[in-house]
Amino acid sequence: MNWFTVFPLIMVVTLIIMGLYVVLFKKNLIKIIMGIALMQNGANLFLVSLAYREGYVAPIWTSAPSADMVLPTPHALTLTSIVIGVATTALMLSFVMMIKKHYGTINSDEVRRCRE
């Protein structure tokens, strides 16, 4: 086990646990969404760190012999998931804006009209 392969995974676990903590225990809706964004970053970092091979170069075809490149697929996946993450975060934040307009609060304990 090499430091370069283990360190990103430690960061992944840290980000996920921080995100989960925020989502589960914070009452502010904006903070919950920040927690989700933390978890998204953790997932992206996880995918990128899967692709890493020590000593290999970035997967750009013109500048490297094919045998010495890190895996390109997770990078493509990560790009897609970053884009999706931006879209979902923006949508959730716009929902929070509307909730603030209707309820006058973004405390998740007080946004409870659906439960009768």
Binding site: F46, L47, T80, I84, L91, M98, Y103, C114, E116
Partner: protein, 506 residues
């Protein structure tokens, strides 16, 4: 080079709704009529391509659609293992048929129901995007592609739930659903990362062939099961469903239900097609059975105390999901043993037949409830009454849908439930008894809605039901009646090919 529409049909099932999704706002700039026409053409073309795919699968057999291959039927080769693939087989067709019948009903219904709302260009865009997303989820055979369609479905359907954003409740329900979907999507991404890190492939076939059943596999499979059961609104992960179902605009409610059925289709596809060789089938089957029984029982008991019409039907829908999970769970638990030939395969038939049945009659039930809300302008069962004087057609459609969900002979819900009772009884009699009791309570609840909403003195209403809503409900009623009249034909021609496509034919 000529394009063979039949073998190319899987891609059109997605491409057509995607294209028309972005044509509708353009057409909206011109006129309302053109927008509605474009939307309807998009829906009908999608239906056409689903039918073409079904025709090709049932006459010529299934094929793997490889994107970017010279011929769509060449299948996976060593050169194309990283490409995105779609699976056109009996199971995909069963799922796509369920989705498209509901989408047709909901789409035509929305012409009449939504005509007083504004921003309809975006409404129809989101509608077609959700359709494309669910179709993609059930057709794809690539894990990452599954993630993308999963998120497309989540985003589009959340936009639809929050469509009436002048009401705080709609936005609240949408945010709740969105948070759950995003966390589910993240867990899915993690399990995809696990599979990729272990095997370096993302295609269902290649993962299936290389799966070893290691600890990482078990973890990833567990995560995938939790996610998809959550999206399928199975108890104990059902809390988003009643809010989302009841706060969404009425034409969209059956569509949200279809996205959760779509997740259930994906769950069964993954379990049977990909994970089967690497897991302890009896253990996973038991988990499915437990989740199913919990959903059936808790769903129907929560429905008992509801006085909101749509919330009540939403809880009934949660309990119907339990039937499918229980039946397919029995099938999965008995895989590989002698029992599978005796009753496991029957349970599978019942479960999958119940899925297509449930998609259709639940849509009918939600749409006729939407008719009640449209006419009476309230969802409170205590305030409704006497509607049969004003809406004889809707009353009839509600009776058909309601009796079907309660499993009363000779309607289609009975045929699938009978298959489930008979086979599940042989596995464990207690399960069949619970299923029967839940059915009886469902009947009582349908009776409660019927008496409260339709019978009683005429209270007078302001609005008439538009003809397009009647048309949409009649389409669904015709499908329910056809399924009721020819259950043997449906099981033999649609359900059995689906089970064979999963590789577990009897």
């Amino acid at each position: 080079m000529n394009v063979d529409l039949l073998t190319q049909s899987p891609v059109f099932v997605l491409a057509i709704p995607l294209l028309f999704a972005f044509l509708t706002p353009l057409a909206n700039k011109v006129s309302k009529e053109l927008r509605n026409a474009v939307f309807l053409i998009g829906l009908l073309l999608t239906t056409l391509f689903v039918s073409l795919m079904a025709y090709e699968v049932y006459t010529m057999g299934s094929w793997i659609y490889v994107f970017g291959a010279e011929q769509p039927t060449t299948g996976l080769t060593t050169q194309s293992f990283f490409r995105i693939t779609f699976l056109a087989d009996g199971f995909s067709v069963l799922a796509a048929l369920t989705i498209i019948i509901t989408a047709l009903g909901a789409g035509i219904y929305s012409f009449g129901h939504m005509k007083e709302s504004n921003g309809l260009g975006k409404f129809y865009t989101l509608f077609l995007l959700t359709l494309a997303g669910v179709n993609g989820m059930v057709l794809t055979s690539d894990l990452f592609n599954l993630f993308v369609w999963f998120e497309v479905t989540s985003i589009a359907s959340c936009g639809l739930i929050a469509y009436h954003n002048d009401r705080g409740e709609s936005v609240e329900a949408a945010l709740k659903y969105m948070i759950i979907s995003v966390i589910a999507g993240l867990l899915l991404l993690f399990s995809i990362g696990f599979f990729y890190g272990e095997y370096g492939v993302l295609n269902y076939f290649l993962i299936r062939d290389s799966m070893t059943g290691s600890l990482i596999d078990i973890l990833a499979i567990g995560m995938v099961m939790v996610i998809l059961a959550m999206k399928a609104s199975s108890v104990p992960m059902h809390m988003w469903a009643p809010d989302a179902y009841s706060e969404a605009p009425e034409p969209i409610t059956p569509f949200i239900a279809i996205t959760s059925l779509g997740s259930l289709f994906v769950l069964f596809r993954l379990l049977f097609f990909v994970f089967r060789g690497a897991v302890e089938t009896s253990a996973i089957g038991s988990i499915l059975i437990i989740l199913g029984v919990l959903s059936m029982f808790i769903g129907v008991s929560m429905a008992l105390k509801q006085s909101d019409l749509k919330r009540l039907i939403a809880y009934l829908s949660v309990s119907q999901v339990g039937y499918m999970m229980m039946a397919v769970g029995v099938g999965f638990a008995t895989l590989g043993t002698g029992d599978y030939g005796i009753f496991g395969a029957r349970a599978m038939e019942g479960g999958l037949f119940h899925m297509i049945n449930d998609g259709v009659y639940k849509a009918l039930l939600f749409l006729s409830a939407g008719g009640i809300v449209y006419v009476a302008d309230t969802r409170d069962l205590n305030k409704l009454g006497g509607l049969a004087h004003h809406m004889p057609y809707t009353t009839f459609f509600f009776i058909i849908g309601g009796l079907s969900i309660a499993g009363i002979p000779p309607l289609s819900g009975f045929s699938s439930k009978l298959l489930i009772y008979k086979s599940v009884y042989l596995y464990n009699p207690v399960l069949a008894i619970i299923a029967l009791v839940v059915s009886i309570v469902t009947l009582a609840l349908i009776g409660k809605i019927f008496f409260n909403a339709f019978l009683g003195p005429d209270q007078g209403v302001g609005k008439k039901i538009p003809r397009s809503m009647i048309l949409a409900m009649s389409i669904l009623t015709i499908v329910v009646v056809l399924f009721s009249l020819f259950p043997n034909y449906v099981v033999a021609e649609i359900v059995v090919p689906a089970i064979e496509a999963l590789g577990v034919g009897a």
